[in-house]
């Protein structure tokens, strides 16, 4: 059933979601992710039992997704940064009510209305929970068309398995670029595990309740610890990353998504000049690959965090490295995307400066 096609990233998300058995999609127009909403409008119509709703707002869309998840459906919504801010209320409820759902954020420049160019300015919002309360969202950051397809499928699997919202985090670049992709075979939803918590009418069983209200602080505390233990389990089980030319690297670039693609191009150029540089690419941003970074920081002495922001993932890298190596940062916020050449020049300068000063701190 696998087939290779040339598709833009936003359409790959849509087609992979359809193949993952997504039965419910609600969205609201916002650039640069409209192609995904439009794809879902057409794709869901091909099936009698699937639902597409253009909601009146991002708030309504995420809350419709909550309802669809309560009713047992694989459900998804998508947006871009300002719209994802609006969805945070619902994402907090999904986490608190332990409901599965997939949220796509194709990030754009901000804060505020910002612009529609690719950035990575929503890292904190995505990985720190985003909404109110003590929770985390699984965050998947694809860096290629194929990975978009594979991680979209995974997003639905993780959401169901852990009963938690999962965010697919990309940007306008990821959504627009066209690459050959081997589409996954469709999932037979009828073979998926039953969900013993869904609301479908209490026929022949006691009535069920899905809630996040716990007025007794002791019970609320235990619910928070329960969620915490779940996030610990998630960290043990699904943390993913890619190591690229790190074996002999003296300097390791840490970058995800669009930035990681740019970094790869830069690293290939620098390797031709015999500069020992590699890359660690987090694929899951939550859970963050702290353990592998810790191990790498025992060997390499310099880490360069490259982001389309003023430095957000940088904090997670520093927390993982705990001062064992030097952390540097290069960022282009606001929708400016650096070229591999620009990044290569920066790495080159940094590399030689560190070599020359014998590794003293800057």
């Amino acid at each position: 059933m696998s087939e290779k096609v040339l598709m833009r990233g936003s359409h790959v998300i849509g087609e992979a979601a359809v193949r993952a058995g997504c039965r419910f999609y609600a969205g609201y127009p916002i650039t640069p992710q409209n192609e995904l909403t439009e794809y879902m409008a057409a794709a869901m119509a091909r099936y009698q039992d699937r639902v597409f709703i253009q909601a009146e707002s991002e708030l309504a869309a995420i809350n419709m997704v909550i309802g669809a998840a309560m009713a047992g459906a694989r459900a998804m919504t998508s947006s871009s940064s300002p719209g994802v801010s609006l969805k945070q209320e619902g994402i907090s409820y999904l986490a608190g009510q332990e409901l599965p759902a997939v949220i796509v954020n194709l990030m754009r420049g901000g804060p505020g209305l910002g612009n529609i160019a690719p950035t990575q300015g929503d890292y904190f919002q995505a990985t720190r929970g985003g909404g109110h309360g003590d929770y985390r969202t699984i965050v998947l950051a694809p860096a290629s068309g194929q990975e978009i397809a594979d991680l979209t499928i995974k997003a639905f699997e993780y959401a169901d398995h852990y009963r938690t919202p999962v965010m697919l985090l990309g940007d306008g670049m990821m959504g627009q670029m066209m690459e050959p992709v081997v589409l996954p075979p469709p999932v037979d939803v009828s073979l998926l595990p039953q969900k013993p918590y869904i609301l479908d009418g209490a026929k022949g069983r006691p009535a069920r309740l899905i809630k996040s209200l716990y007025l007794d602080p002791a019970i609320m505390e235990e619910h928070n610890w329960k969620l915490y233990r779940k996030y610990q389990q998630i960290a043990r089980e699904i943390t993913q990353w890619e190591e690229f030319m790190v074996e002999d690297a003296r300097l390791i670039v840490v970058a995800y998504g669009t930035c990681a693609r740019i970094a790869k191009g830069a690293i290939r150029r620098l390797r031709e000049m015999d500069i020992k540089v590699g890359m660690l690419r987090p694929i899951t941003l939550f859970p963050f690959p702290s353990k592998v970074l810790r191990e790498l920081s025992l060997k390499a002495k310099d880490f360069l965090v490259l982001e389309l922001s003023t430095g957000q993932m940088l904090e997670d890298v520093r927390l993982a490295i705990e001062g064992r190596a030097r952390t540097h940062f290069y960022g282009r916020p606001g929708g400016v995307v650096p070229t591999p050449d620009e990044v290569a020049k920066h790495i080159n300068l940094l590399y030689h400066r560190q070599e020359l000063n014998g590794g003293e701190n800057e």
């Binding site: 039965r23 419910f24 609600a26 639902v51 709703i53 909601a55 009146e56 707002s57 708030l59 309504a60 869309a61 809350n63 419709m64 997704v65 909550i66 309802g67 669809a68 998840a69 309560m70 009713a71 047992g72 459906a73 459900a75 209320e89 619902g90 409820y93 009510q97 609301l199 479908d200 009418g201 209490a202 026929k203 022949g204 009535a207 069920r208 309740l209 899905i210 809630k211 996040s212 209200l213």
Partner: protein, 249 residues
């Protein structure tokens, strides 16, 4: 032989209501439970309760319940109903929930003709939070945020949400009722029954507004509160069928 003429409805749990003495919520809960039983739809009903005093409705109604964020009940209900079109899905919302923070959601759900039923409990105040002005607070009415009475120039007018929803083409049946007298309680039950029948017939959006007394936040004795509905509230919010295109008698 004695004959049972009054009993606890099948879909009302054997819990003691937490509502204040004289509050209308407990009456409305009972009416819903009776209708679910009489129409034999309790075991395929899914209720979306609100934030507010009725947030604990799940302690009383013995049906599947899914909690919604404040104001989003009809959006959540939309998601449930679209996935399970043969179930009976209803929201239970106060005036702050449905007519202030959730106005956009309910207008668009009504306009799409979502096959859901909204029970809109209008007592003119935010009860749970301590009696602040609601969108439906009457002109001149004192609340904790209108200490000198609701003033048009500062606070605007009481909102006629039900009339607004009647304009939406997808709404089929909208009626305003009250639970301040035995006669009105009986009529409110008929309206709830009809609203569910509209959903069962797959006709479109249905809503029953119920004027309900809040003695605590109105700072009135219960007997004065029910009179206040008759003498004051219904003058601004008259009891009537606001829209009925159902063809159901």
């Amino acid at each position: 032989m004695s004959k049972v003429i009054f009993k606890r409805p099948r879909y009302l749990k054997q819990n003691v209501f937490h509502y204040c003495p004289g509050c209308g919520h407990s009456i409305i809960h009972r009416l819903i439970a009776e209708v679910l039983e009489e129409l034999e739809i309790g075991d395929k009903a899914i209720c979306v309760p609100p934030a507010g005093c009725a947030v604990l409705a799940y302690n009383y109604l013995d049906v599947d319940m899914g909690e919604a964020p404040h104001g989003r009940a009809v959006a959540v209900a939309t998601g449930i109903k679209r996935i399970l079109p043969d179930r009976i899905v209803f929201t239970y919302q106060g005036d702050g929930d449905i007519a202030a923070i959730g106005t956009a959601e309910v207008i668009h759900a009504a306009n799409r003709g979502e096959r859901i039923t909204a029970i809109f409990v209008n007592n003119g105040v935010y009860g749970m939070t301590g009696g602040q002005m609601a969108p439906t607070t009457l002109l001149g009415q004192v609340s904790t945020t209108t200490p000198f009475g609701r003033d048009i120039s500062r606070d605007g007018f009481p909102l006629d949400l039900s009339e607004m929803l009647a304009v939406a083409k997808g709404s089929v049946y909208i009626e305003r009722t009250a639970v301040n007298s035995p006669k009105n309680v009986r009529h409110a039950k008929k309206a709830i029954e009809k609203a569910f029948k509209v959903q069962m017939a797959n006709l479109g959006f249905s809503l029953v507004e119920i004027l309900s007394q809040c003695p605590t936040n109105w700072k009135m004795a219960p007997k004065d509160a029910v009179k206040h509905i008759e003498n004051v509230v219904t003058k601004f919010y008259p009891l009537k069928v606001i829209k009925d295109e159902s063809g159901i008698s």
